[in-house]
Symmetry: D2
Subunit: 410 residues, 4 copies
Amino acid sequence: MLGAPTFASPLRLSVSERGVPFVQPDASVRLSVSDDDRESASFERAGPRERLFFKSDEVRAGIVTCGGLCPGLNHVVRAIVFALVHSYGCSAIKGYRYGYEGLTASGVAPIELGTEIVRDIHRIGGSYLGASRGAQPLSEMVDSLVRDGISMLFTIGGDGTLRGAHAIATEIAARSLPIAIVGVPKTIDNDVAFVDRTFGFETAVEQARTVLQAAHAEARSARNGVCIVQLMGRDAGFITASATLASGEVNVCLVPEVPFTPTALAKYLEQRLAARGHAVIVVAEGCAAQLGDTSGDSRGAKRDVAAALAARIAAHFRTIDRPIAIKVIDPSYTLRSVPATADDAIYCDQLGRYAVHAAMSGRTDLVVGRVHRELVHVPLEKVAGAARRIEPNGELWRLVLEATGQPRLV
Amino acid sequence: MLGAPTFASPLRLSVSERGVPFVQPDASVRLSVSDDDRESASFERAGPRERLFFKSDEVRAGIVTCGGLCPGLNHVVRAIVFALVHSYGCSAIKGYRYGYEGLTASGVAPIELGTEIVRDIHRIGGSYLGASRGAQPLSEMVDSLVRDGISMLFTIGGDGTLRGAHAIATEIAARSLPIAIVGVPKTIDNDVAFVDRTFGFETAVEQARTVLQAAHAEARSARNGVCIVQLMGRDAGFITASATLASGEVNVCLVPEVPFTPTALAKYLEQRLAARGHAVIVVAEGCAAQLGDTSGDSRGAKRDVAAALAARIAAHFRTIDRPIAIKVIDPSYTLRSVPATADDAIYCDQLGRYAVHAAMSGRTDLVVGRVHRELVHVPLEKVAGAARRIEPNGELWRLVLEATGQPRLV
Amino acid sequence: MLGAPTFASPLRLSVSERGVPFVQPDASVRLSVSDDDRESASFERAGPRERLFFKSDEVRAGIVTCGGLCPGLNHVVRAIVFALVHSYGCSAIKGYRYGYEGLTASGVAPIELGTEIVRDIHRIGGSYLGASRGAQPLSEMVDSLVRDGISMLFTIGGDGTLRGAHAIATEIAARSLPIAIVGVPKTIDNDVAFVDRTFGFETAVEQARTVLQAAHAEARSARNGVCIVQLMGRDAGFITASATLASGEVNVCLVPEVPFTPTALAKYLEQRLAARGHAVIVVAEGCAAQLGDTSGDSRGAKRDVAAALAARIAAHFRTIDRPIAIKVIDPSYTLRSVPATADDAIYCDQLGRYAVHAAMSGRTDLVVGRVHRELVHVPLEKVAGAARRIEPNGELWRLVLEATGQPRLV
Amino acid sequence: MLGAPTFASPLRLSVSERGVPFVQPDASVRLSVSDDDRESASFERAGPRERLFFKSDEVRAGIVTCGGLCPGLNHVVRAIVFALVHSYGCSAIKGYRYGYEGLTASGVAPIELGTEIVRDIHRIGGSYLGASRGAQPLSEMVDSLVRDGISMLFTIGGDGTLRGAHAIATEIAARSLPIAIVGVPKTIDNDVAFVDRTFGFETAVEQARTVLQAAHAEARSARNGVCIVQLMGRDAGFITASATLASGEVNVCLVPEVPFTPTALAKYLEQRLAARGHAVIVVAEGCAAQLGDTSGDSRGAKRDVAAALAARIAAHFRTIDRPIAIKVIDPSYTLRSVPATADDAIYCDQLGRYAVHAAMSGRTDLVVGRVHRELVHVPLEKVAGAARRIEPNGELWRLVLEATGQPRLV
């Protein structure tokens, strides 16, 4: 908290004659829903507060999007702008260009945002503000905020971005500035700790399912047809596993969290092709280690995991002199550069609005995220650096095994 | 429970060398996630059990779909068949035709189901088995199950269907028959008590959003353009409210749970058109009461609520001599007769599989449903007859008000 | 022609060292492709000319969209702006608001158009400029063009709009003004004479097919299920017939051009339901006459043709005491308020550019349209007032009969 | 022609009391629509004939699909089956598996086709029958047809397939067998000579446009963002050029038919990025030669053309020390493994039906294809081996240049 919230919220939502159902100060959401785990951690519930730290119509806000693209980015930006303008009467909003770079001297100048400008941006993929990766000089960024008179900065980005946001918040605290830093976690891989689901993930799975349907068509249309699809997921296989379940037509699912060997896979394919005549394989881009590729974790290397896998499989079947028709599909950026599905759109809208509510109340150094379909505040310190992974003994992976029928591939 | 589960599960999912992570006998999920509500009710966690009541490969299963169509129906049927065949080695599966009618003497004969037959049905909307509304003679239905040697019946349907399933289970208990009755709640309106979300709901919202985008195009393209969209929702406005949030372009949202008067609405439209030149209104079909239509709750009457509203608004603007261009869109069945989105597909797959797991373990007289993204068993007695509604003082409606900026319309 | 084209075109398309392949002055396209019809009419080929009437960078252009919405409207507007700016260096472009009304004193003021403003409008349905129906005072409109210094007006609209454009061109000729009037025919019904296909038609058929798939799901999922879909087409059944062919799942197709009686239809349905258990019927909104509704050609009356048909069919089956499940779907505006398909987008882009090429060369009082996939100029006088209809003895209707297997229904 | 058509057609399409409008024996369609080219070639018009060579209900038909997948393949197969069964009363239809391989001893046995089996296959991409590439022993294939008592074989495939079909027809003629061979040209690249458009092409363009929209999002969201999309088109750039026009957001379009050098391209990108900050490039897979890759025309080599281009561009910008963000997207099979668009579906339906009409009348050794939206018969001898290419001085390429504004890149 930047300080005591003393101003009355201008929010006038006529739900009833009694007015708005503001969130109670001490409302919280528990992380665990198991009965046998009653002492689990809990987070503060997000939403509009009755008392604000900022005089809302004097607020000057900034928005920045960082890292790779993710479906719904523009939707979050639009929601922040709409909430600032319509709910709080704030009209001074700067959109920083191309990530944290836009907060530095060498960056492109920010643009003034308003409801007319952002009105239709949710219909189009990508980032309206532009994005970039990488850290920037901390004090230079805080100087920019001070120069622009910013009272709250919304940062939408992944792990690195949130670490950066925490550093900015820390520097702001050190300088005793009244600037709120509120993050919205963005990772298409859905691997943010403490958060059930990140925005854009579901859209990516929807896109991935379409690709898997194409892969199924390719595999089924050839005699001994094998089609390998490579999906995003450098460290976590959530997209790959979820797309497998959504498709219902995948025969082998390979993720970074679960060991497999190409040899065991090829052996299993022998059986599968003999019995069924075709196979669809989906592999997360982060499975280089399982392929024995310890050379490097550079992105380039990992991007070729499906092709490497195809080469191994093809070699195996040449060895046993059985012809197969093997194909590779790498949809790459097409999963992430699309507008959000309806469900993601709802989520993005809420994330953007609740980020504004959090900042207005003086909360800072936190993100808004979803736990059990409820939005909560998670301190940036906790969320940055932590990560979720598929639990090989957990329910998601068991569902994948039920759906594919694949054996242990080691 | 039909009796003690004594058989070892044949499920061989090689998650690890230790084998399958079966659900522990006493695992449960709490209904409330608030910290201040620690004594809330909880439900048994769903999933595969280590011990089964039925000798799985001797099982004879039946599946029936009832009531109106819902996206994902075929997906649930496919998942049940796949789980029965691939996970449990069961090969005797009857698909009863056209709802409970198929369990009576006057019904169409059931079809034998197998994985080849259902392989592609999830790609196509509707119900592969056919469906119908209405109750059928109880003892005749149980007689059919006995005649066909059925050991487990899966009923997929809405409130009436689940009440029927409970009656069948009660009759079976009275006759001391070893037949499990497991339901999958199906209501596109998402108004099942104790269950976060019903399958198909999200798909319906996705479709509805597309319609709202068309409505927005119509409204914005005319001078003083007003477009009214009527959506499903006889008693609950969940589709209408969620589509409003997903669209981000709705100006007035009207649901059965929140009072409004056509006069107050027309007055507000005056302001809105003067300020912005167009308006998109979405109204749930169940809003006849607010329009003063107390004549009847017959379906036909309710279906015309948007047209009735348009007539009222047009009359108001004629009175004040201001020309407007008003249009009505009623997408009706197009929301529900489509294949499921990826996220719904994942849910349908899990529902179908967990329904099979429940029945195999000897559980009966219950449904499988989702609470906080976890699947649980809810007794049929509890779920049938109860219903969820939008809480006018709750979060969902507040989000709608934030998104539309609409005032109280009374 | 407004006069002799004396300026050299600035078009610099480096197809080869020789430069742009301008269209030859006397190039033409024949209407008939039959060998036995060698003396058929032909139209001037459209495209960029080497010599222009206007000094292109001094041109002041206006654009107006009229009548009902049609997929691709924004695409045509965008293409006109891009061609004016990028191909001809013209920067003074006015977008008149809400149809011909925007050319009158009581209209909303026009907006200045440029490439930044229209850059993304093709992604969104509707008309960015707004549209309206109805005629406006001729001299007032020409006065507005003179006042704004307009040298070329692009009018995108249907039959009434093109008649209006011809009247404007005639008045301009009477006043000896150097203003070119170039139309782009817009009718979602595809019933423009001399023109193979109008833009937006294909998109509407794509949308209609989706609706027919939903109808098929509804019909097939009920015992004796009948689903009636009403599609656009007041006088011409092209959308209805084409959607029937695209769907492959329609059992009866009803269009204004081909007689049928509800009684004959009901009799045929008896057979169909006995043999196949379900039926999908699609009817063009203009079939009121066949239903014996001679009361009026008011739009309202016609819009209910599917409901009227359903009532007749239901009455017939009640008479013979056979239960059927009958449903009606009227997708109405959802067919027309969407962005264009890829193929329509290509066509819109070309129409917009060729309209600009035509005007620049001094051509006036004409439309650009497609004949055999070639773009031509058709004099406004010829195209306005004429109309295409489905020929009951022609190929399109024969294909419909082959696809549906429906008999003569009289 | 196999011989004189002596049987009366059973086609009973009650267009009018006079019956079916059969195609007149001498109807033809001219290739050229230019007025100044009145002596151009013409082809026989396709469609149902009044007199048949075969006694239709005794016909035994075979269908085979060959080569790579193409949207609409299943639609054509379905239409052939529906026409055979419903229009001609034929019930003996064999679907040969996996291309010409299915006509050999080592092939998988054919499956019996009927309307129930193929009813829903048009909803799903791929080839229901399976396909394969490559030639098979001629006499072995004809022996299979004789063994199976086939009276007409429908071959759906590309250039190699049609050459094979001509060889089969020639062998059949040599053996004086009464077997009709009718082809349906299938090439997603749309490069069949004499044929305006091949089925599936438009669907591929629709898919490609979606990918280009993603590419635009990627390019626009990064500072100096460049996104290169590689599309199908080994020898002809029709997909690439058409997707460019459909997108309206491509800045550079590269096809095999038009020369360019990577150096000239990089120089142009310098200007483009300085002026506009981003660029979308689309390149056909067949552009290896322009990249100086003369090593081979093997498929593998060509598939990497976008990556090779990206490497060249990146190297150039490193040399001049200007940072750019360059990405590559290769959607590969996702363009071709999807169901057909509505317009393609209509075309596929007509192609399948007219192929049956042609065979029934005793015509053989030909394909059905579209010229100016009219279906015609083209002798296999003419169509096989010939090919269409983009004409660099023609209208299509000029439209691309107008749309992209790209200069000559040599």
